[in-house]
Amino acid sequence: MSAETDDSGVLRSILPPEQVDRAFETCDNHGWKLLVAGAVVGVLPPLLGLEAGYFMTVLTEMYLFGVLALSWDIVGGQTGYPSFGNMAFFGIGAYTTAILTKDFAVAFPLAFLSAGVVATAFALIIGLIVLRLRGHYFAIATLGVLLAAQQVSRNLSITGGASGKILLQTPPGEVFYYVFLGILVLEAAVIYYLSSTRFGFVLNAIRDDEAKATAMGFNTTYYKTAAWGLAALFTGAAGGAYGLFNTFINPQTAYNAAWNVELIAMALLGGSGTVVGPIIGAFGLHTVIEIVESYAVGWQLVLLGLAIIGTVIAIPEGIVGALREYASEMDYYERGGMAATDETDAEPSDDGAPTGGDPQ
């Protein structure tokens, strides 16, 4: 992962280095406070009288995508196994809740929890197979899993076939607002906690050099399967809630391959391998997509494709990655990097415009 971010020139003109530096120090030391603050801010809107309606729905969807992007990042960003099939867990979760609540009259909370469990069970079985693959092969195999799951759902009768299921008896919209916010906060807390434990370190070690991690005596299969299961748990739960939130699911919406790309783009745009990056990316990109959806119907996927291409080419490390790079560069610059001429610092100004890549 050699960083070719020579964007420091543009960034330096926008953000004073000390502030960026300080912000990241703050984040590192006070991540939990940040998380609690975020949760409190998240809880406020309905209490302050924001009625169920358009903005409420947009916020709810933002949290949903936050969960999806963060879940993808556990395996894609932290462990380095780029999955194109996470939406399979989502779809399985969605169908689990739909079938349980509609055909078996199970109460929503129980159905919702089952969705996470069923998706995790599926992930562990599939994981045993696909996690043996790496790189291209893994990416395509997971895409195959997603499409196979979609086809199977389309052909079974219990899932309602191609026409799907309509779910009319659903909890009110506010419930989903808190459900998705809750999953997101819980997930961020879990990942933040794990990133300071051996579990998190081993995941990153697998990403950087799996052979070496194995040689050091870690059972990498166990770690990556666990990460995969964890991603499925949250994705499946989100899918379980989404089915009822949307009041309708069919194979197309439940196993949405375009969403799968969208959530990867979110994680990458924000900065994969971090906790805050995928969330920033999800909120930012969803806002943009929402705006495009309102003003230029039908073009949001064109934009998505272009956004992905732009991100990958301009800021492959994502917003957080680019900022962090910049901060550490400044650190180096100020505390003893003076003797050696750093090449990235030497010619920072010949950079194209797209770096700014609006964070929100």
């Binding site: 194109f84 197979i129 395509i140 195999a141 899993v145 790309v261 783009a265 992905i308």
Partner: protein
């Protein structure tokens, strides 16, 4: 008896899959990326042929010769698109994380697909060729004439690619780059240009076959992903970088799909293909003919 009929159908369609997969395998082998926009080249090729024919005749119907005349147009257009795709996008991410190359081509695939959707709507379209009916019957087996034409066309295009790679100077350069880009550069081959030509040629073959697809199956803007994945199945089966492998793989995949469609139901063909992909990846990732590539 029915089984023979299904296998014949499968072989006829399988040649198209094989031709598409050959291009996919070539890009994988030479440029070392998985081009997730490969299926879009098939789609665009089909549309190019469709619109060229419409331009000439007013509706997408024509004599066999007129239809065949549109194929060079599709091939030429797709060469340009493929060449540009490599030059403008892919060359910027080569050598970085493979995941980024996947994302760039997937991004291109989505953008192309959605632009096509905006331009031409989601309605499936097909090219009508006037001599298609009635079908031939050989020894009790029904052979639709257009499928036969498409079969021959796909084989011819694949063979032309093979000869191009074996006999021409550019072809040799392509093979050299696939084996060792650094060494190729040392002996004076312009690696970047060779890669762009590879991309162009692969896309051109896919586009040409897309025109045949438009005569026997439908074309619509979102068809691409399925063809990309089928190509992947075929290449994994046949082995990366092996044209005979891709040919055998394509014919086999076609037959398996037709057998599933015939004996079970057409609804299960895709599920079976994708499951086959996963099984193959796990059981035999190096393929039948491939020597195995490092990841």
């Amino acid at each position: 008896m029915a089984a023979t009929q299904f296998v014949v159908n499968g072989l006829l369609v399988g040649a198209l899959f094989a031709g598409i997969a050959v291009g996919f395998a070539l890009i994988w082998g030479v440029v070392d990326i998985i081009n997730l926009a490969h299926g879009e080249m098939v789609m665009l090729g089909g549309y190019t042929s469709y619109w060229t024919l419409t331009l000439i005749t007013g509706n997408a119907e024509g004599s066999p010769l007129l239809f065949l005349a549109t194929i060079p147009v599709a091939i030429g257009a797709m060469f340009v698109v493929g060449y540009a795709l490599q030059r403008v996008l892919v060359s910027r991410v080569i050598g970085t994380d493979i995941f980024l190359t996947l994302l760039v081509t997937f991004g291109a695939s989505i953008a192309i697909q959605q632009l096509a959707l905006q331009a031409w709507s989601a309605n499936p379209r097909a090219i009508q060729v006037s001599f298609a009916n009635p079908s031939l019957t050989i020894a009790g087996i029904v052979v639709p004439k257009m499928k036969l034409v498409a079969f021959v066309g796909a084989i011819v295009l694949t063979a032309a690619l093979y000869l191009f790679l074996q006999r021409t100077r550019t072809g040799r350069a392509i093979r050299a780059v696939s084996q060792n880009p650094e060494a190729a550069a040392l002996v004076g081959i312009d690696v970047e240009r060779t890669r762009a030509i590879t991309f162009g040629v692969s896309s051109a073959i896919a586009g040409g076959i897309g025109a045949f697809v438009a005569t026997i199956l439908n074309i619509q803007p979102q068809m691409g992903l399925i063809y990309t994945l089928k190509s992947f199945v075929i290449v994994v089966f046949g082995g990366v970088g092996s044209i005979p492998g891709a040919l055998v793989g394509g014919l086999l995949l076609g037959s398996v799909e037709e057998l599933v469609a015939g004996f079970i139901s057409t609804r299960w063909t895709l599920a079976v293909s994708f499951s086959l992909l996963i099984v193959l990846l796990v059981v035999k990732p190096k393929g039948l003919f491939g020597e195995g590539v490092s990841e």
